[in-house]
Amino acid sequence: MTVTSDLLRLATIGSVDDGKSTLIGRLLVDTRQLFDDQLDAVVNASERRGVGDLDLSFVTDGLRAEREQGITIDVAYRYASTPRRKFIIADCPGHVQYTRNMATGASTADLALVVVDVAHGLKEQTRRHLCIAALLGVRGLVVAVNKMDAVHWSPSAFQSVVDEVETVAGELGFGVVTCVPTSALLGDNVVEPSNHTPWYRGPTVLGALESSDAGAWTNATNGPRLPIQWVLRQPGGGRTYAGMVNGDALHEGDVVTLLPAGIETTITTLNTLHGGRSAEAGAGLSIDVALADETDAGRGDLLARAPLPRVTSELSATLCWFGERPLGAGQRLRLKHTTRVTPARVVALDGVVDVATLVVSDRAELRTNDIGLVTLQTADPLVVDDYRDNRVTGSFVLIDEVTNATVAAGMVGRASFLA
């Protein structure tokens, strides 16, 4: 049996009506990812709603309200594989009021597939999405400059969007950006190369996704971390500590520090789920470990190797605020970081980001979908890395104390473009 282990997770981003869902529909249909009955259902739904023979956006816009309104409300996850690679695709909504859902889709993505309507250029909402994707640490960008048929396949129209995208991507610190002139509706340069664009020599959207190295592993710059989720009692009275590894690999025999207590001990046994006892385990694997010394380790604690994370109860952080009511200094919330939940308070609001200019300015409160810089104080100490060093120990969410809704995505530290 062959299992393709090369997986790319991507999220679509961009403004409403630029064609994100249509592009994903086109990609899935032209790579034959849909079963016959699923394609039939899309054809039937298109006819019933009077939107032509095949509305490709219906492949992912599966909710009743989405089809009635012709918009995407929440993220659809689709799974695709080609001979070269497996994909998990998060098709995200473009509307500003659903930014929280876009952030949900982008938070686990390696690559953003940006869709831009060539006739309109970069809208504010696309800039907001690019800014959030950059903050969330999405590494790769593929840009479909879409609806090229509507501008008669004009190379200069394409180039002016490319120039705009490259400027913004540069400011936000993205690396290589691949721009592709497309018509998702007609299928040009999505899976099949277009014969309308003889002046374009680059890859199709699929080609760009298949060859992107955004999902490739680069060694972490900091040491291994194991946030403890659960204590497993072993027969005979011993205990092992279960959690998911992130950062560098952990090994049997590793000298580790239990934080926040600061106790040094050694991993005597490392158990994986598949194959049992193992010499090492890399990021993304759920394991349990036995320690050489008696400790009172439990859920919320963390095992780490140097360079050690910081132990702190005051955080400087970047927030994407999704709450319906504004956030101001003094407000109390709950904070979940790794496996620890603690009360937290906003000590200071240090600024709000203008997504168009990336200028940080003073304001008394954060409103829904604002990106802001804050200082937080927590009741219990947290064990943190800067988000740019570690996406697990550098991230947190804020929770409304009354409704229990998740109201913010938080990242420890601030991105260099917000300096």
């Binding site: 299992v3 699923q38 929440d74 939940v341």
Partner: protein, 307 residues
């Protein structure tokens, strides 16, 4: 930027990553919720889910009971499998019975040949309220249906048990937060990112036991709604239908009145993996009459509180 990727080098295989992620979700919810329960239908997805739950808490026992929503119209092989499996791991079994719900007047009896598919929601929500469960693990996958493709891994249900697709909680990174107020609950779907093929490849790798009806066998069937429907105590052939004996297997397991069989000669998991890899029709499209009522049948049932 020098961001650390969330995921590991390609030396770690796909199935091990899916397994680790599912176990991570099981442990998070078990740690954060007061009274979780694991929904177990006896189907392949819930068999895999239970297998993962056992692994997540071994060598300890499951820190939650297992619940079967029993329509009273089951395949006998599946009930036997349920009892065998639950006994083998020493779990506590809760049965939420649709027949009880009918007897207590909570739901109207659709008659001996009628489908009890939607009545499962009544039995399920009643059991959640009575037993004060605040989280229910399910084996649903996002590749099954277009409404499921939209659902969070931790899916919030209000005090009426409803899913509100327009007001889902943001779910950032792998920070699954499962806090609810009394009367509300969560559905947790650890297999969200698994495809049907992943499930079968995992069953093959781990040797997960399944009910015999997943494997090819001869059975009396009739052709109805473009499916092969087994003729048994719950399904009677209509005058226009011809009963045939065919070599079939089940691709999903649900209520006996609305789950169809597919023609197949696959008698081993390896043969099923090959069959699934080349299928032209989706598993629910091939086998579920309950999804054919309308364009948004699954969404409508989920809004009411279905799995």
């Amino acid at each position: 930027m020098t961001l650390t990727p969330l995921r590991p080098p390609t030396t770690t295989d796909h199935l091990s990553l899916l397994e680790s992620h599912a176990v991570y979700i099981l442990r998070e919810v078990a740690a954060e919720c007061e009274r979780p329960v694991l929904l177990f239908s006896g189907g392949k997805d819930s068999a895999v889910l239970l297998h993962l739950a056992v692994k997540a808490f071994a060598p300890g026992r499951l820190p939650f009971p297992v619940m079967h929503v029993d329509t009273g119209q089951n395949f006998p092989e599946v009930l036997a499998f349920r009892d065998r499996t639950v006994a083998a791991i020493g779990a506590r079994l809760v049965v939420a019975s649709v027949q009880d719900a009918i007897d207590r007047g909570r739901a109207a009896d659709p008659g001996p040949r009628g489908s009890r598919n939607r009545l499962q929601t009544v039995a399920l929500l009643d059991a959640i309220v009575e037993q004060r469960f605040d989280a229910a693990f399910g084996g649903a996958r996002r590749d099954e249906d277009k409404a499921r493709a939209k659902e969070r891994i931790l899916s919030f249900r209000n005090a009426f048990g409803q899913w509100e697709p327009r007001h889902q909680r943001p779910e950032l990174w792998q920070l699954y937060q499962g806090r609810v107020n009394p009367g509300e609950h969560l559905r947790a779907f650890p297999l969200s990112d698994w495809t049907e093929l992943d499930v079968w490849q995992y069953i093959e790798r781990e040797g997960v036991a399944l009910p015999s009806i997943y494997f090819a066998h001869e059975r009396d069937v009739v052709r109805r709604d473009a499916m092969w429907l087994a003729v048994n105590e719950h399904v009677e052939a209509r005058p226009s239908e011809r009963v045939e004996r065919r070599l079939v297997r089940y691709r999903t397991v649900g209520d006996a009145t609305c789950t169809g069989a597919v023609e197949s000669d696959a008698v081993t998991v390896a043969a099923i993996v090959r069959e699934v890899a080349t299928a032209n029709v989706s598993e629910r499209g091939a086998t579920r009459a309950d999804d054919r009522f309308s364009e948004t049948a699954m969404e409508d049932r989920k809004r009411e509180g279905y799995f």
